[in-house]
């Protein structure tokens, strides 16, 4: 019980951010036309590559071989997620635009 209380107090700011961003996420996506479902899924996927920041911090302060190897792998995969995600989304939306014309 005491652990839980300490945790809640120590991470108050982060918990506030989490709870409020859940509502924000719900609000931002409201009634998307179904043609945009797949591009939006892809766009959101690219944003979930934000773990790339974690990869940068990890490799930035890596000291052991384990940290170097796994950290580099994580950073590489996160970059794939970010770069690939945004390019794929752009290609989908590009096609979508042409269709509309």
């Amino acid at each position: 019980m005491e652990n839980v209380l300490t945790f809640l107090t120590a991470n108050k700011d982060a918990i506030f951010i989490i709870v409020l961003s859940v509502f924000l996420g719900f609000e931002v996506i409201s009634n998307v036309p179904s043609v945009l479902h797949t591009p939006l899924m892809s766009g959101a996927n690219a944003i979930s590559g934000v773990i790339i920041i974690g990869g940068i911090i990890l490799v930035g302060h890596a000291s052991t071989t384990f940290e170097w190897v796994l950290g580099s792998l994580a950073l590489f995969m996160a970059t794939l997620n970010v770069a690939g995600g945004f390019v794929v989304t752009d290609r989908m939306l590009e096609m979508f635009k042409k269709k509309k014309k």
């Binding site: 996506i29 959101a44 974690g54 970059t79």
Partner: protein, 283 residues
């Protein structure tokens, strides 16, 4: 420290850009602009983190590490863009699933490394990041394989019970690691066990779901990747990661529900129904 202030506020700016990007992407006319906003919102914190990040001891990122990071990011960008450009339009959904898998794997790897740095302090968020990231990784890989025709379906009613069992085991192991009072050695074995179970669970979760329902499942796994990234952000107390991750987690969930609605199905029906495109009477 002025650098720290600039860094933290660059995270706020990046979060705002993510929100604007997602908002614009939900309208047809502005969707492409929205993607650009979101991409800019990703590049900004990458640059500021690289220049301004300091570890607990107040050390900046060393020059050798900066070069390594830039090389890895360059390699990832080249490979990722080539893959994304070469893929056929009809194969887009599996491409998204593949990229989602790499994001999940990255989150799991980050959580695992952070645990090994500090095995005395297993934290709930770290374990959740590991579990959720691993499930998103193996699940997305199976979804990718199914859409690509490499993996077939397994129709079995009992899979639902197997999956429930897996979930119970995962919760039990997390509780054991946190409150079991084991020494660091045993706990490390448990954490690696947790990694394996989560990977297997991701497979058994997606396996029984039919190919036609894959877009919904990918969207669901996508929100899991977001949550995993947010959990990793919690470890670093990094606002950009927390906000970006949770934003994707929440928006992805709503999107998943909307996709189900467009298909005239409920999410439970998709997950437990264990059939794809077939007759609803089967359920």
């Amino acid at each position: 420290m002025p650098g720290q202030v600039v860094l933290e506020y660059s995270y706020l700016l990046s979060a705002i850009m993510f929100v604007i990007g997602l908002k614009l992407q939900s309208h047809p006319e502005t969707a492409r602009k929205g993607n650009f906003w979101a991409a800019s919102g990703m590049i900004l914190p990458m640059i500021t983190t690289l220049i301004l990040n300091r570890n607990g001891a107040g050390e900046a990122i060393g020059m050798g590490n900066v070069i390594a990071i830039l090389l890895i990011i360059a390699a990832g960008t080249v490979v990722g863009s080539i893959m994304a450009r070469k893929v056929k339009m009809t194969a887009m959904p599996q491409m998204v699933s593949f990229f989602n898998a790499t994001g999940g794997a990255a989150s799991a790897a980050v959580a695992l490394i952070e645990y090994t740095k500090n095995p005395d302090q297993a934290v709930l968020v770290g374990l959740l990041g590991l579990v959720v990231g691993s499930i998103a990784f193996s699940g997305s890989m199976i979804a990718y394989g199914k859409l690509d025709g490499k993996v077939g379906d397994i129709f079995a009613k009992f899979m639902t019970y197997v999956n429930l069992l897996f979930m119970a085991v995962i919760v039990a192991v997390i509780l054991l690691v946190l409150f079991g009072g084991f020494d660091a050695q045993t706990r490390t074995y448990l954490v690696f066990g947790l990694l394996v179970i989560s990977l297997v669970y991701g497979v058994s979760f997606v396996m029984p779901i039919g190919g036609a329902d894959m877009p919904v499942v990918i969207s669901l796994l996508n929100s899991l990747t977001g949550i995993a990234a947010a959990m990793a952000g919690f470890i670093y107390q990094n606002e950009a990661m927390i906000l970006g991750g949770i934003l994707v987690g929440a928006a992805g969930t709503i999107l998943t529900l909307q996709m189900c609605k467009a298909m005239n199905r409920s999410l439970i029906n998709v997950i437990i129904g264990s059939f794809g495109g077939g007759g609803a009477s089967h359920a």
